[in-house]
Symmetry: C2
Subunit: 336 residues, 2 copies
């Protein structure tokens, strides 16, 4: 007899809401609680806030303790990109004895950039016998896990090159703003300097690949540049005059002695032609893969989070990443 | 401190030999024994038989007991395609307390076709606290695991279509013969009827996908047809006159009420144009993937087997398949 997996949604922003709507389609998942820091959302029914157009009988709570008196098997966590900011939230979940699936970008592979915090979270999760699993489509899938999966068919891997091209005009407005669409180059550069414009996750993806392959990467270099409109262009959400910014071109390179062994390149701009995810492994044998049209970031992040719930339940306690788990579609059964 | 993983190679045929040569490149693996039923090989040094052109100090034994008195962490098993034929060998490995990575095609996903034998092997492996892991490039990767991995980015999966095109002229001669290259159509059909010509694994791949997706597949249909030369063609290994067979076109379909939800199609023939692996998922969102040139079957089977060794060590005891494990390149470190 299969019984439903009891889930709490932590964070009901855009991604969190998409996750909730998807979870409602899976009979084996039972959403038993929800948390959000926004006073506007607290007390309201999760179904309404998440755009499910019906009451779920699950009021959004201010904190975990108040929202799920009888606990849960898993917390799906989706608040912000910064691991420092969310680490106390993750510990709160672990203390509840629930496994955590989090879309926090910096959690996708934190070991290189934040070794101390990683060790601390790993230790804490082990003590509470739960898995803390960082997931997402990027980082966590398109530019790392997929390349590692492909590499399992190789005898030797010398070099990995991943290129993701996203047409930002087909994505939601907040993402268009996040890549600087419509800004002047000066505005763009200022926002890059203060860290406002930035896809989070390239160094994490690169570190995941480097460690999995034991690739000799001593240094990770990252560059962010604007893609500038050469002629004015009209999109559904905005018009962008010539000379203004369409979006970002971001590259992370893994280097040793100046030589590049891993290169992750992301083009994310309005009207980007031929959106694609492509992976090229140079080795024995060479192996390359293309996903024409690309993986839809907004849809896929929610999908990956929900699809990884069973893997989180099966994972070894501790801090885990996409590298450690089998990734698969989750049809929505409960657990036996 | 990392210590090497101790491995026994069970079966030193073409694939087994390729696996051994690859294992010798991984410092974290120590080949401590080898078994083969062929009296011509027994007593000879594994390094010579496997084509490594040097002695390894590992004589090939007739059976497991005689070849590895002090045991091993893993047995890499590569003898034949038939699960019935190898099940006693697999049990012999489990009895030794070693995890098993096997390239036996029918082990890749045996639960539908051989439920009783599967249950028996699963029980036996659990009792001996080892994992029995069926792996390979096809079945086990190109036409199943890769599709499931891709599906982790989907909200809903309605239909899966996988198409693998292999140019048999770029593969070894035994494989060319296995697909019927050079035969008359009558010879081909006779060999299909007796089960001699057949790629093993399509129903296994299809069952793996169906079960993982909870796809409503009541029946699996399989067809095998010859691809016939319309004009004579010269290849490195043979010349094939017009009217003779170039290879196979094999299709497996997963059906419910006559409706197809999964289709796996394999073209494997001499001179096949544009070898490719392609996967097409219809769902939310649609998602398709191509590997131009295709995954090289001979190279990749050895690669997958060796790369999956760490996953076998980490897997839960019992009968396991590619679906259950993270697939990744194994750089060849030992274990800590």
């Amino acid at each position: 007899m299969e019984k439903p997996i009891r889930v709490i949604q932590y964070g009901v922003g855009w991604i969190g809401a998409a996750i909730v709507r998807l979870m409602l389609e899976k009979p084996g998942l039972q959403v038993v609680g929800a948390v959000d820091a926004d006073p506007e959302k607290v007390g309201k029914d999760l179904g309404r806030v998440a755009g499910a157009n019906r009451d779920l009988g699950v009021p959004i709570g201010r904190d975990l303790a108040s929202c799920a008196p009888s606990g849960a098997d898993v917390v799906v966590h989706s608040t912000t990109s910064s691991l420092k900011q969310v680490s106390s939230e993750l510990m709160e979940c672990a203390r509840l004895g629930a496994h955590v699936v989090s879309t926090c970008e910096e959690l996708s592979y934190p070991f290189r950039k934040q070794p101390e915090l990683s060790a601390q979270l790993d230790q804490f999760a082990r003590e509470h016998k739960v898995a803390l699993l960082g997931v997402g489509v990027n980082p966590g899938f398109a530019m790392d896990k997929l390349a590692l999966t492909l590499a399992s068919a190789c005898h030797r891997v010398d070099r990995v090159k991943v290129h993701r091209v996203v047409d930002a005009s087909r994505r939601r407005l907040p993402l268009q703003k996040k890549v600087g669409a419509g800004m002047t180059v000066e505005e763009f550069n200022a926002k890059v300097a203060t860290g406002v414009i930035k896809h989070h996750g390239l160094p994490e993806s690169l570190a995941m690949i480097a460690d999995a392959l034991s690739a000799p990467v001593e240094r990770i270099e990252e560059t962010i540049e604007p893609v500038v409109a050469t002629q004015s262009a009209r999109f559904e959400s905005m018009e962008i005059p010539a000379g203004r910014v369409l979006g970002v071109h971001q590259v992370a390179r893994g280097l040793r002695d100046g030589e590049e062994s891993i290169c992750l390149e992301l083009h994310m701009f309005m009207g980007a032609p031929e959106p694609t995810d492509s992976i090229k492994i140079s080795g024995v044998p060479d192996l390359s893969m293309q996903i024409p049209g690309g993986i839809h970031g907004d849809l896929a992040t929610a999908a990956v989070a929900v699809n990884c719930i069973p893997a989180a339940l099966e994972a070894k306690p501790g801090l885990r990443t996409a590298k450690d788990i089998p990734m698969c579609f989750f049809p929505g059964r409960g657990r036996s």
